[in-house]
């Protein structure tokens, strides 16, 4: 048998890319995956609907759009209550609610929070997002260069969340941002500590707000709470878990989107010129950046009974990681998936997940992306990647991060008073 025939005949060999077999020894965190993302995604879509990982105690990885949709809709077979990633059970880490809940309790929280994240509610935040974005750009625009993540992308989502959604003092932001960063992107064994820090701060803030006059915002809604499936009012710690989830879901994820948008503008000058000449193209261009730079690599579900996916038997208790970033590149749904096409029609953006747990903050993420794209085109119109550099990607089970993005541009004037 020749080597070529061997490759064609044995599915396993097709899974070997960058020195790792991604069909039988997948690892979401591995450098072999993050360094060869496009190629590995193509390989699993072509030949491996369900990959096996022995990392973190073992899990399955599903990458197909249709398979993920089926699993997300069937929450009775695929529970979220055993955690969003492996090894979440059995410790005292802060939980993330409603992410780690099932309907109907999960649904009641979604219904309560939905009003504050609807397109209409989020539209009213636009001026606040613009003010925060302009203030951040003012800090580096005279320099002509910056690391866009350190200077902008890592900060805007937190500033927006804390100033426009929560109303906490901006002075507290560096501490909170560092803790949230540790929780989501830190070394695996320190993530629990990160969550605990975030939880402790928000617990204190919520207790403070409970003593104050209601403001009618979403903090008050969380304090009001919903009933559990036993018909009892949600206990205090559940309310903290909801608050932590809203924060955790919105920071790193949106940072990655913003970095992706800057990378896109820097590397696609023809598209950038077209969008600058017609700003009505911005929303769809942002939607395509959401798909291409999909920031959630995967989130987990656990089988509640023996079942199967595409003929692969799954045992009760097994964890399946749903590979959203790969599904957002599924060639059965997105033609030429590794190319950014700003006119692409995206009926359902798998970057936000699907079904009951679909990202509740999608409209806030879109708004920040749209504001950032417009302001970058206006204020840094010739931004480019620094010569000889390109962004580095890294994976942390749940997120697909862009680690650094060194940009250069013609220095411009500040527009604000430096606050």
């Amino acid at each position: 048998m020749t080597t070529t025939e061997d490759n064609a005949a044995t599915p396993d060999s097709a899974g070997t890319i960058g020195g790792r077999n991604h069909f039988t020894d997948f690892d979401l965190d591995s450098k072999e995956f993050s360094d060869n993302f496009d190629e590995v995604v193509d390989a699993v879509h072509a030949g491996c609907p369900v990959a096996r990982s022995e990392a973190l105690g073992g899990y399955w990885v599903v990458s197909g759009f249709d398979e993920i949709r089926r699993i997300e809709q069937d929450w009775e077979t695929w529970t979220s209550t055993d955690g969003y990633e492996p090894n979440r059970l059995g410790d005292d880490n802060a939980r993330l609610f409603p992410l780690e809940l099932d309907p109907p309790y999960q649904t009641r929280w979604r219904a309560l929070l939905g009003d504050f994240f609807s397109p209409r509610a989020i539209r009213s935040k636009k001026a606040g997002v613009e003010a925060n974005a302009n203030a951040l750009i003012d800090r580096f625009i005279e320099a002509g260069e910056c690391d866009f993540i350190d200077a902008f992308a890592a900060h805007l989502p937190g500033r927006v969340f804390f100033s426009t959604m929560l109303g906490v003092p901006l002075d507290d932001l560096p501490y909170l941002q560092a803790a949230a960063d540790q929780a989501v992107r830190g070394p695996f064994e320190t993530r629990g500590e990160g969550w605990n820090k975030v939880g402790a701060y928000l617990d204190g803030y919520m207790k403070q707000r409970q003593q104050e006059e209601p403001r009618g915002d979403f903090v008050d809604a969380i304090l009001q709470g919903v009933n559990t499936d036993d018909g009892e009012p949600a206990p205090w710690h559940h309310k903290v878990f909801v608050m932590v989830d809203m924060l955790a879901g919105g920071l790193a994820t949106t940072s990655i989107l913003l970095a992706g948008i800057a990378d896109f503008l820097a590397t696609h000058p023809e598209d950038a010129a077209r969008i600058k000449a017609d700003l009505s193209l911005v929303p769809n261009a942002v939607e395509e950046c959401l798909r291409y730079y999909a920031s959630i690599l995967a989130l987990g579900r656990t089988a509640t009974k023996d079942t199967e996916i595409e003929g692969c038997p799954i045992k009760k208790g097994d964890m399946v990681m749903l590979g959203f970033a790969a599904a957002a590149r599924d060639p059965r749904h997105y033609d030429d998936p590794h190319r950014i096409k700003i006119d692409r029609k995206i009926p359902t953006n798998m970057a936000f997940g699907y079904g009951p747990h679909r990202c509740i903050g999608s409209h806030l993420a879109r708004l920040q992306g749209q504001v950032a794209m417009e302001l970058l085109l206006e204020r840094l119109p010739d931004l480019k990647l620094a010569p000889g550099t390109k962004p580095t990607y890294s994976h942390s089970t749940v997120t697909r991060d862009i680690e650094n993005l060194h940009i250069v541009f013609t220095p411009g004037p500040r527009v604000g008073d430096g606050t």
Binding site: R69, Q73, T107, R110, A111, D115, P347, T348, P356, R358
Partner: protein, 65 residues
């Protein structure tokens, strides 16, 4: 009050029916059964209609007076 349900936007997340089952119903594939039509909201169910519309991730449901 009416709810206009856009069939091009409905993507079968199922959140309308989960949030406001008294107003919205979904088919076996998760799509709103009334997608592509305008539904008259019975008196007394206005608040539920609004909640269900707000829950839709695709903003496929528009509630009008």
């Amino acid at each position: 009050m009416k709810a206009i349900i856009d069939s091009a936007l409905c993507a079968a997340h199922g959140l309308c029916a989960a949030t406001a089952p008294e107003v919205y119903d979904i088919d076996d594939d998760g799509y709103n059964v009334a997608a592509g039509t305008t539904v008259e909201i019975p008196a007394g169910q206005e608040a539920a209609a609004r909640r269900g519309a707000a829950a839709c991730p695709e903003a496929a449901i528009q509630v009008v007076e």
